[in-house]
Amino acid sequence: MTTTELAAPDPGPAAPGPTPSTTLSAAQAASASREDKARISRWLLSAPALVTITIFGILPLIIIVIYSFLKAAPYGGVVWSPSIEAYVSFLFQQDIFTEELVFSPDFLQIYLRSFIFAVGTTLLCLVLGFPTAYFMATRPPRQRNWWVLLITIPFWSNLLVRTLAIMFIIRDEGLLNNILIGLKIIDQPITILYTDFAIVLGLFYSFLPFMVLPLYASLEKLDFRLVEAGYDLYASRPKVLFRIIIPLSKPGIIAGCLLVFIPALGAYVTPLILGGGRHMMIGDLIAQQFGSGRNWPLGAAQALILMSAVLVALFFYVRATTGKVKHGQG
């Protein structure tokens, strides 16, 4: 323990001094062999996790990259012959009579819809999640713990069950319509389920805790002396909010937005249950190609196009957070 600490280069003193490697002593050889041993044991300890994720997590991703460049077999699966058919059919459809390729924006529209839904959900979560997180962060410590627990429970709860709970409320014969009819506000149930509104509502409900928790983590560390300083300089409350609090909590806002945007963009359960298969999003479009659509290469290509959208979002995240370090905030 102590020998390795001594052997480690000391970054403190500026004077270089005599180099310690004048003679390759036995002690150094021993420490070198210990280093080797430590290195081997580190890799051995990491191996089970790495091997499992590589074989059953990364290899499958490589397989769908390959599948996206193959031809579809008639009953699901693939024919091993290279083709860019999947990517072509993402944008074009073959005319039945002339066999010409005609531009068909169907899939593109679903991607655009999903993107708009995901952005809308993110904004909705931010607008309601930020005040919630800020309120939590300004509670006394004991109360804070309770709030965190109350947000953590839905964060980890079963997404399917939570979506089902929303469905029970907004169904034609659900609670909301029953109450409205009971109060004689309406005589016919309003159709909410299986609409775009239902999907965005479900996404908002599903991912609101994903926004609140990172925002809270960031706001909890906020230096409130800066807020006080703002008031001392006669700033109004909105001004303090927009000029001090929000800029200081930017890392949390970015993290929260990403944690909502990425799962919302690839949402599968929500459109499946609340969209009823008619109002599709990317997630159920992909699943459909692997199910009833029986076009695995097309599904693989669609999945990769979604993945690249996610990578673009992650790229902006990394750029934004490293920028933060550069400006010395945090």
């Binding site: 580190r42 997404l159 939570r162 089902l164 599904g299």
Partner: protein
């Protein structure tokens, strides 16, 4: 002037109300789900009295039993496997001088969290289909366990790594000074100290495996129904409050594990 007595400078107009609204929005649907699970009526939407009949019905339901058994086998196996793997990896990647490949290890372990679930699902489906067709490998329910293992590892890894990083090295140093072998020092000193992190990680791994729908749905073969898949099958049939009862049971188990994990984390902070 602004700092008049009783005025909290930190408060912002309307934030209190929004926070309460969010809480109501998050809990009201769950509350309704639970209330209607003790509904005596056959119709989900009409409440006509308190009864435990739907829980009894679920209790004697063969399909529910099978689904519960499958879910437990998968979740327990995935939890044990991922917690052991995550603990070993956490020991290798924390509290040591940065080593070549350490960042690569982080990236690989966290990768399953960055890929949208539906992509993981179709990729894993393709992988096992290929494995089955070319090599004839099919592990049955083991396919689902392996798929779960992948996304459970990062969830188990996070709290274990956090615990290790906040742990004090002196005790292990003392053990080494007293001529304990590295294994003995790990077993008698590090592991007991690490236990809160391990239990917290195991609880999270159990929750994410227990609740998983998307990946399981695509990977599961016939007869490999889990509880979330069973609920999905029930949604597509004429619904009775039995679906509320089963959903409530699922919700109760998730919340139990969340509370365990939360409690451990709180005690850690206090201790």
């Amino acid at each position: 002037m602004r700092a008049a007595k009783g005025v909290d400078l930190r408060s912002q107009f309307g934030f209190h109300t929004i926070a309460i609204v969010c809480l109501v929005v998050l809990y009201f649907p769950l509350l309704i789900l639970i209330v209607f699970s003790i509904n005596a009526n056959d119709i989900v939407a009409v409440f006509s009295g308190v009864s435990t009949r739907w829980y009894e019905k679920a209790f004697y339901n063969e399909e529910f039993h099978n689904a519960a058994r499958n879910t437990l086998i998968i979740a327990v196996s995935a939890t044990i496997g991922s917690t052991i793997f995550a603990t070993l990896a956490a020991v290798a990647t924390t509290r040591v001088a940065p080593w070549r490949g350490q960042n690569a290890v982080y990236m690989v372990i966290n990768l399953p969290l960055m890929v949208p679930e539906i992509i993981t699902a179709v990729a894993t489906l393709s992988f096992f289909a290929l494995l089955g067709r070319t090599l004839g490998f099919n592990f049955g329910i083991g396919n689902i366990i392996l798929a779960h293992l992948v996304f459970c590892i990062p969830f188990a890894y996070m709290p274990i790594r956090a615990r290790l990083e906040s742990m004090d090295l002196t005790l292990e140093g003392a053990a080494a000074d007293l001529y304990a072998t590295p294994f003995k020092a790990f077993w008698h000193v590090t592991l007991p100290l690490l236990m809160p992190g391990i239990s917290s990680g195991a609880a999270l791994a159990f929750i994410v495996s227990f609740d998983d729908f998307t990946i399981t749905q695509l990977v599961a073969g016939p007869g490999q129904t889990t509880l979330p898949l069973y609920i999905w099958a029930m949604i597509r049939r004429p619904m009775t409050p039995e679906i509320n009862a089963i959903s409530t049971i699922l919700l109760g188990i998730s919340i139990l594990f969340i509370l365990i994990s939360f409690w451990i984390a709180q005690r850690r902070k206090a201790g």
